[in-house]
């Protein structure tokens, strides 16, 4: 009988003497920290907290650059980008996850090889930068969209697809035309088609989540997006000062935003990568809204 609903992963669980949620590792005894604007700070998973995923467990170790240490049951497995592997027992076997569209992935700068590890035994992962591990237990039918390169590891019960973001704009400078993808060309989609699964993401800095109501909209820096529910729609939004055409040509006076539409959950991280906009003339873009200040 469930006696506790995790406010982060919404799992309904029968809490005994645990101090962390067994599905996502979030502490159960902390007060929700919500900003006045409605963002909830994702509490860091406490050092040595355990997350149950089927017959296997995952223990989060460290606080600064945390490690996800899986104890894989026989037959259970996980997949990951090969460079996040930190160590493994000799009993854990490594292989590759078949991926479709390898050529497109190659051109898009996405990992062509997705490695997989199969139990029994321990295998551990770390993204070699300070930040947080975000654990997303996926129930059958759930799907989340994750910005590229932020996957840390997922259990084999989680399906992996990728799709074009459809978010781009073109700039021109003389005869030169350049296409920019503020969110990357492709986005990862993770879903649990048949049985529950566990998805671990890496968030640089701190992670914040927010639930958008139907039609509710929000502007975020494109590179700050961590993940969103598949139900959340997005497109570009430009802002600039209304002080004449030359203002378009200088970076710092044109702002490129990602507009997100509810319903659904969105998450951002605080240490985002910088997106370079040359500030030259805007020649075209995917569907976008715009606003000139002072107009």
């Amino acid at each position: 009988m469930a006696n506790y609903t995790c406010r982060w992963c919404r799992s309904q669980i029968d809490l005994q003497d645990q101090v962390t949620c067994p599905r996502c590792g979030a502490p159960v005894d902390v007060r929700a920290r919500e900003t006045r604007s409605g963002w909830s700070e994702l509490p860091a998973i406490p050092d040595m907290a355990r997350i149950q995923c089927g017959r296997s467990t995952c223990q989060i170790e460290g606080t600064f650059v945390p490690v996800a240490d899986f104890n894989l049951a026989p037959g259970d497995g996980v997949y990951f980008a090969h460079h996040v592997l930190l160590w493994r027992d000799a009993s854990v076997t490594l292989g590759t996850l078949p991926l479709r569209g390898a050529l497109k992935r190659l051109f898009a700068g996405m990992p062509v090889v997705m490695a997989q590890a199969q139990g029994p035994g321990h295998v551990a992962f770390s993204h070699d930068s300070p930040g947080e591990v975000v654990a997303l237990p996926l129930q059958p039918g759930m799907a989340v969209d994750v910005r590229e390169h932020l996957l840390m590891v997922a259990t084999l019960s989680v399906a992996y697809e990728w799709f074009p973001t459809g978010v781009w704009f073109q700039t021109s400078d003389g005869d030169d035309q350049e296409t920019h993808y503020p969110l990357g060309r492709y986005m990862d989609r993770f879903s649990a088609p048949h049985e529950p699964g566990l998805l671990l993401l890496y968030a640089a800095g701190n992670a914040f989540i927010r639930d958008l109501g139907p039609g509710e909209t929000l502007l975020v820096k494109p590179t700050a997006l961590l993940y969103k529910d598949a139900s959340v729609q997005m497109h570009l939004h430009f802002e600039r000062p209304a002080v004449g055409w030359r203002a378009w040509r200088t970076w710092g006076e044109r702002y490129v935003w990602l507009r997100l539409y509810g319903p659904g959950r969105v998450a951002v991280h605080s240490a985002y990568g910088r997106f370079e906009d040359p500030g030259t003339n805007l020649a075209g873009s995917s569907p976008a809204t715009s606003w000139s200040w002072g107009s």
């Binding site: 650059v65 490690v67 460079h83 592997l85 930190l86 000799a90 070699d128």
Partner: protein, 270 residues
């Protein structure tokens, strides 16, 4: 003092007075539980801001937590050595000199520090490696030998002898992540102090004789000299588009192995 009332430090096994809150030998907090994962990795103790510990007649105070500083108050006749670029500040009165090192040409070719500096007491001197991470304090009992990845040591006391060992095997040199040499620190006739800087979080595991574990080479931080390292390559193929080679270092006991979670990533042939 009653022996039974002493507190043993779980990190360095030193004995402490019953009212001590941090270990007098390594600075580890004594009143927090030992963090050991299910797989057997012990988390290096997170040194509290401003905690102090002793070596010889000198003391070391740890300051800050994100990029921690080791501030040493050197007693007269005590001295420490370090790579010159990790020195943060010093009293004007602290004299400096250079440690004579054998094999200077080999070291220069291997990218190892060519000059190791010495600071002599009395006076204060402080060190920090300009990166986020943890200080790992390793008090070395007489006769103990520790191998450390190059450029990971912050400072060592005069009673610790410094040398280097050549990494054996071409594959280990090319793909082991350590280059051609590893630093070796050996405590002579008396206990010495070795302080390392680990990127991110640091974990230690003790391997039994013959027990082995496979590590990302860039995560290796230190090991007892008795632990052997052998690089193994696994090919991860993706059919038509090739794939990638994954190099992992097989560490075989007996002895301790220390790793860092923010590893130095070494490019593979993808």
């Amino acid at each position: 003092m009653d022996v039974g009332s002493r507190i043993e430090c779980q990190w360095c096994r030193s004995q402490n007075l019953p009212d001590a809150s941090t270990c007098v030998t390594c600075g580890a907090p004594l009143n927090v539980r030992n963090l050991v994962s299910d797989s057997g990795w012990r988390e290096a103790p997170r040194l509290r801001d401003m905690s102090e510990f002793r070596f010889g007649q000198s003391t070391c105070q740890v300051e800050g937590e994100i990029v921690p500083v080791a501030e040493i108050t050197l007693a007269p006749r005590d001295w420490v050595y370090f790579e010159h670029h990790v020195m943060l500040w010093k009293d004007e009165s602290v004299p400096m000199s250079v440690m004579p090192l054998p094999g200077g040409l080999k070291r220069a070719l291997a990218g190892m520090p060519f000059i190791i500096s010495i600071a002599q007491g009395p006076g204060r001197i402080a060190f920090s490696r300009d990166a986020s991470g943890e200080l790992v304090v390793l008090p070395l009992p007489p006769g103990q030998e520790v191998d450390v990845r190059e450029h990971a040591f912050l400072v060592a006391s005069h009673s610790v002898a410094y040398s280097y060992v050549r990494v054996k095997g071409l594959k280990n040199i090319l793909f082991g992540g350590q280059g051609m040499f590893m630093d070796r620190f050996v405590a002579g006739g008396e206990q010495g102090l070795l302080i390392l800087h680990g990127y991110g979080n640091v974990f230690e595991r003790t391997l039994q004789p013959g027990e082995s574990i496979l590590l990302e080479p860039g995560s290796f931080l230190y090991k007892d000299a008795s632990v052997t390292m052998q690089v193994e390559t696994q090919r991860l193929s993706s059919g038509l588009f090739g794939g990638t080679g994954m190099n992992l270092a097989r560490m075989t006991g007996p002895g301790r192995v220390g790793i860092q979670s923010m590893y130095v990533h070494h490019h593979t042939d993808d």
